[in-house]
């Protein structure tokens, strides 16, 4: 049935592999960094210093150079259609490396690590491994590669979530994350197997061509789409695949919460866009779908449910980390709005929204960590009177929260504006979606503003008016993030140009 390849074929395969390696340099570099960090940990065993974290920061910054060099390379598939290099992938490479760096910076500020664990051991190496996995997620062009990269991200995320081994909450979060993650990725693989059965292909472009020429059974298609959506929806934390996120966000170490809520969500969004834009057919095909349900209406349903559920349930939260978890469910809904538009403007808006979410969410979690370092609590009631005791932290957190609501003059406002204008540019069909988005943003104003309300207008019950200092470096980073959130809210052209440049997938832009 399968013949041995001839000598010439083997030569051809080797030549193709050699050519592909040249396009794979950032990933190879990061894999070497991962191994180097493990060795550094072995050499500097038991010592608790900044050696590992600084090495990680420098190493990750170095990878930016290799990614920058890739701009001159032509867009296209390599490694036999497994992997793709295009502007869309490049955008996410920068995004994930930068969020890895911010995760390291946030970790350095978190004093909970000093109390909970003896050594940082493989922590930083795992963060780098997760960066590699997410970069691969955004660049995969094949179902097999999607599955493998997604599992790489999931496994490292499980370990990082349970990194506080002796802490009951952290371990419980890891267990819940694991159970939901394993089930949803299992369902996703089952969906992949059905797609493979329909088309006999695993490459996204070939699947799309096969479905377009030979047609498909709509029932099988919608069933497999639903199963695959379970896998992707779990990564971006959208309703109804969100059950893990409040518990995991509350229990995990806070830097990991920030990292998961931004980077892992972005990786899910990248996959979702690449898979649904490229592989699954849309519009104008001869086969009627079951009762007019296709993947787009499924996404609309998920998006509306996420916006409403996330924003409404957040109203009752007393723990700030949990509150931000529900807000991140809501933001998954807003991101999906941009995906639903499915044109160049929509892609640009989604990418821009990811950038704004990156700054404001990392900023918010950074301040939450600094406050928890001093007060030892993440409860909303313990934020009372903090505005006077930690002036800069209070101001910064307020800016980030205003940006999360989507009010001017911040980056979050521009993000929401782009998403809603992309929706409205599509004509009257999506007006109701934009309306739901705007109404739920108004709801979110209430629970976000509870935090500044407690900080500034309510008096602390302990009557402790002493000012608390957070350290010079932490203040500089906090101020920097705050200024960037406002600056890019006013002068957003470079970011939106970059997002527009990055909206080309496989060298094709949607129209």
């Amino acid at each position: 049935m399968f013949e041995l390849p001839s000598g010439a074929e083997i030569q051809g395969i080797i030549a193709s592999l050699k050519a592909s390696v040249g396009l794979f340099i950032p990933e190879i570099y990061l894999s070497l960094l991962f191994m180097l960090l493990i060795v550094i940990d072995l050499v500097a065993k038991g010592k608790k210093n900044n050696l590992l974290s600084v090495a990680t920061l420098i190493g990750l910054a170095g990878s930016l150079f290799f990614i920058y060099q890739q701009h001159s390379l032509p867009a296209g598939e390599f490694f036999f259609g497994m992997y793709v290099l295009d502007e869309f992938a490049l955008f996410f490479k920068y995004f994930f490396v930068l969020s890895g760096m911010l995760a390291v910076i946030v970790t350095m500020a978190d004093e909970q690590f000093d109390r909970e664990v003896k050594s940082m051991g493989e922590y930083y190496a795992l963060i780098v491994a997760m960066v590699i996995g997410m970069i691969m997620m955004a660049s995969s062009a094949d179902l097999l590669m999607i599955f493998l990269s997604m599992e790489l991200v999931s496994f490292t995320a499980y370990i990082l979530t349970g990194y506080f081994k002796r802490n009951a909450r952290s371990s419980e979060a890891a267990l819940k994350y694991l159970v939901y993650g394993a089930v949803s990725s299992g369902l996703m693989v089952y969906g992949f197997s059905l797609i493979y059965g329909l088309t006999a292909q695993t490459n996204l472009l070939k699947i799309s061509a096969e479905l377009a020429t030979h047609g498909y059974d709509p029932l099988v298609m919608i069933f497999s789409t639903l199963l695959i959506l379970a896998g992707f929806g779990y990564k971006i934390g959208a309703v109804p695949f969100h059950f893990w996120s409040p518990d995991v966000y509350e229990g995990a170490p806070t830097p990991i919460t920030a990292y998961l809520s931004v980077a892992s969500k972005a990786a899910g969004v990248a996959l979702l866009m690449r898979f649904f834009y490229i592989a699954v057919p849309h519009g104008g095909h001869p086969y009627e779908d079951i009762m007019g349900i296709d993947w787009l209406s499924l996404l609309i349903l998920v998006s509306v449910a996420s916006m409403i559920y996330g924003n409404v349930v957040a109203l009752w939260q007393k723990n700030v980390k949990r509150l931000l978890a529900y807000s991140s469910i809501a933001h998954a809904g807003y991101l999906l709005l941009g995906i639903i538009v499915m044109d160049k403007l929509g892609t640009q808006a989604t990418l821009f929204y990811l950038l704004s979410y990156f700054l404001m969410n990392f900023g918010a979690f950074y301040v939450v960590i600094l406050i928890a370092n001093k007060t030892g609590s993440e409860n909303l009631d313990d934020y009372r009177g903090l505005g006077k005791r930690m002036p800069l932290a209070g101001a910064a957190l307020t800016v980030f929260l205003i940006s999360l609501v989507g009010l001017p003059p911040t980056l979050g406002f521009i993000g929401k504006l782009l998403i809603f204008s992309a929706l409205l540019a599509k004509g009257s069909i999506y007006i109701w979606l934009a309306l739901i988005g705007i109404m739920t943003s108004v709801i979110s104003l209430y629970y976000y503003m509870l935090i500044p309300l407690n900080m500034y207008l309510r008096e602390s019950m302990k009557h402790d008016e002493k000012e608390m200092s957070t350290g010079m470096l932490a203040q500089i980073i906090m101020a920097l993030l705050m200024i960037m959130t406002i600056y890019f809210g006013l002068f957003f052209t470079p970011l939106s140009d970059f997002a527009q440049y990055s909206s080309a997938m496989f060298g094709i832009t949607l129209h």
Binding site: R169, V179, A182, Y196
Partner: protein, 105 residues
Amino acid sequence: MEQLTTIGLNHYLTISAFLLGFGLFAVMTRKNAIVILMGVELILNAANINFLAFSKYNGGMEGVMFALFVIVIAAAEAAIALAIVINIYKIFKSVDVSSIDTLKE
């Protein structure tokens, strides 16, 4: 009659669909973390049967490769899962997921 006497693609798909159902049932109804993970293995193996059957009847090698990788990933997942479950047992003295609920609204 021919449906019953010769084994074709449909037989494989039926078995795989049953396995998926059993797996989901185990995940949804069982309280023991280990049994839930066994349910996940059933789901993954349901996908494996699909891949191999489709590969045989479609005549490509991609399905076989996919199944191999799924097996490897399942093994890695089991290793990580058991490490987490052992840690849970050390802390809670139980692997019953309904009794592990310190994180609540």
